[in-house]
């Protein structure tokens, strides 16, 4: 098992390398961000973010996330209160989303 402390991260806590990620690391980042337990709904979002990033090279916008991840915007904010797109990206081990939307 890899631990979070062993993988390189940037100043904001995002993983430097997408391939360092695993589910244990995701749980550790979540706990650090104040989410003690990742539910199935959290995983749905995190996996969608990660899959989209790996497939397209960029993270989805909050609009796309709400429409296509299977979790609507209201619930996204309930699951990840301090900004769903950025937090789900961090937990998913992908870079911080760059867009304004």
């Amino acid at each position: 098992m890899t631990t979070l402390a062993a993988v390189p991260r940037n100043a904001e806590g995002f993983l430097e390398r997408v391939e360092d990620w695993d589910r244990d690391i995701a749980r550790e980042i979540a706990r650090e961000a104040g989410i003690p337990e990742l539910s199935d709904r959290h995983w749905l979002v995190v996996n969608y973010m990660r899959d989209t990033y790996i497939a397209t090279g960029s993270a989805p916008t909050i609009r796309t996330l709400g429409k296509e991840s299977g979790v609507q915007v209201k619930e996204l904010y309930a699951l990840f209160p301090k900004g769903p797109a950025k937090l789900a990206a961090k937990i998913g081990g992908i870079p911080k989303p760059k867009g304004c939307i």
């Binding site: 909050i62 609507q72 915007v73 209201k74 904010y77 900004g83 797109a85």
Partner: protein, 170 residues
């Protein structure tokens, strides 16, 4: 330079900048380039976990008016940012054409049309308000607005709500 001034400057330099935790945005214009920046900034605030209020006043209320917000356009007359000749801006259909082109560009960037954008902001926990004085002036009621509008409030109530945060006027 007076000693007091030097002292003041020194104190400011050592103060840590505090993160923004709340923004209250005032929308007073009813054309596209008056409305979109406000919505983008409100949504952007929510994306960062920042509390966001949007206060619609004067013609800005068109953005939350059910009957009008689908038809908000770019003003092509008297809008120097477009670099159009003045007479060309007034040609019938020019405003619709420019608006269509701009919307197409925004859709590419995943920026939603105004009605959907307002829903997105409300679903994100951003609060939408209409200005009481403007509502009375235009003879409107809460029924004229989209259901996501939280309330019709006075300027005093707006300031009370904005307390402790930043106020942005677009």
């Amino acid at each position: 330079m007076s000693p007091e001034f030097t002292q003041g400057q020194g104190a400011a330099a050592t103060m840590e900048p505090q993160p923004i935790t709340k923004v209250s945005i005032i929308v007073s214009k009813g054309w596209l380039d008056g409305v979109y920046p406000a919505l983008i900034m409100a949504n952007g605030a929510r994306m960062e976990g920042i509390e966001a209020n949007v206060f619609f006043t004067f013609f800005g209320m068109d953005a939350i008016n059910k009957a009008r917000h689908d038809a908000i356009k770019v003003a092509t007359v008297g809008n120097p940012g477009l670099h159009l000749m003045t007479w060309l801006g007034g040609v019938p259909g020019m405003s619709a054409l420019v608006t269509r082109q701009m919307m197409k560009q925004m859709e590419k960037l995943d920026i939603p049309p105004i009605p959907e954008f307002l829903e997105l902001i409300a679903d994100s926990g951003g609060k939408l308000y209409a200005c009481k004085a403007s509502v009375e002036m235009f003879g409107l009621t809460k029924d004229d607005f989209i259901p996501q509008v939280e309330d019709i409030i006075t300027v005093g109530e707006f300031y009370a709500m904005a307390a402790g945060g930043q106020i942005i006027f677009t």
